[in-house]
Symmetry: C2
Subunit: 172 residues, 2 copies
């Protein structure tokens, strides 16, 4: 689903000459669960995890029954990656100009939901697990209620935490 | 492609009653590039990013021509996420026992390439970019040469770095 009307195009943006959503598939994803969040309208949904944390609302992830045994062992993990499938975003905008930005940027330099493969990546704190109901309670989420989930992974500080990482924010 | 012969099954492991690779697609991915790594044999390939860094071999990512404008702005970024599509792994093992582990764990508590959606997540240091050739040089990678790439994202310390994250490694 690609409702481009939701996404105005801005000066300095560039489209691909084709729509990735119309290309033959190189691989296929299945949904393993859904996000349950307080955000039912795109306008109210936090645009990133910082804004989501500032909103001070918890959220949860529901994992579908066949995949629930896959949660075993997560109870010892403090933080997780959630990968979502942002299927309400167009996929054909390769250079974008975020609202309030002075310069356009390539999609791979942005965390925009609009990308060739609409995979969202969220690092969240795991507050509680209900194994039987397949429910993960997390500290915050920057995704609409009902967003499909395609993967959950444990976060390992040893290979995933780079507090020294920098971004030159000129133009952002 | 699912050559289960590459993956022996171990005691305590659990299979799904179906193969996610055979389900109808909920969404489709396209490959936007490939990993170029020193690892051409599965036996030699580092099993995680820590082992990859210890091997002290750089790697690169080649982005296909139509997607190269998407790299604009990445030159100011020190670390990136790479999402890969691990299409040589089976998808139907929901509880797994990693080699050398004493206990089996659910797939969502592991970074195993064997998962319902075979998406690999790698945080790497970006050493250099050749925009014209669509090439990203990175400090290390724990993926086989030729592995398809489905996304690149900037790493933001403010929302992605949790050095305080912990894992109860009992059983690992």
């Amino acid at each position: 689903m690609t409702p481009p009307s939701l996404f105005e195009q801005r000066e300095g943006e560039e489209q691909l000459s084709f729509d990735p959503a119309s290309l033959p598939a190189d691989g296929h994803v299945i949904f393993i669960g859904r996000i349950n969040s307080p955000w039912t309208a795109r306008q109210a949904c936090p645009k990133n995890m910082r804004a989501a944390r500032e909103a001070r609302k918890t959220a949860s992830i529901s994992i579908d029954p066949p995949y629930r045994p896959g949660l075993r062992g997560l109870e010892g993990v403090s933080h997780i990656f959630i990968l979502t499938w942002l299927d309400r975003s167009p996929r054909n905008l390769i250079v974008q100009k975020p609202r309030h930005a002075t310069e356009s940027k390539g999609v791979f330099a942005l965390r925009s939901p609009v990308r060739p493969n609409p995979v969202g990546l969220h690092v969240v704190k795991l507050l509680a697990i209900d194994m039987a109901r397949g429910k993960l309670e997390v500290d915050a989420i920057d995704a609409l209620d009902g967003t499909p989930v395609i993967d959950v992974k444990p976060y390992f500080a040893s290979v995933d935490a780079f507090p020294e990482a920098t971004v030159n924010r000129s133009g952002e």
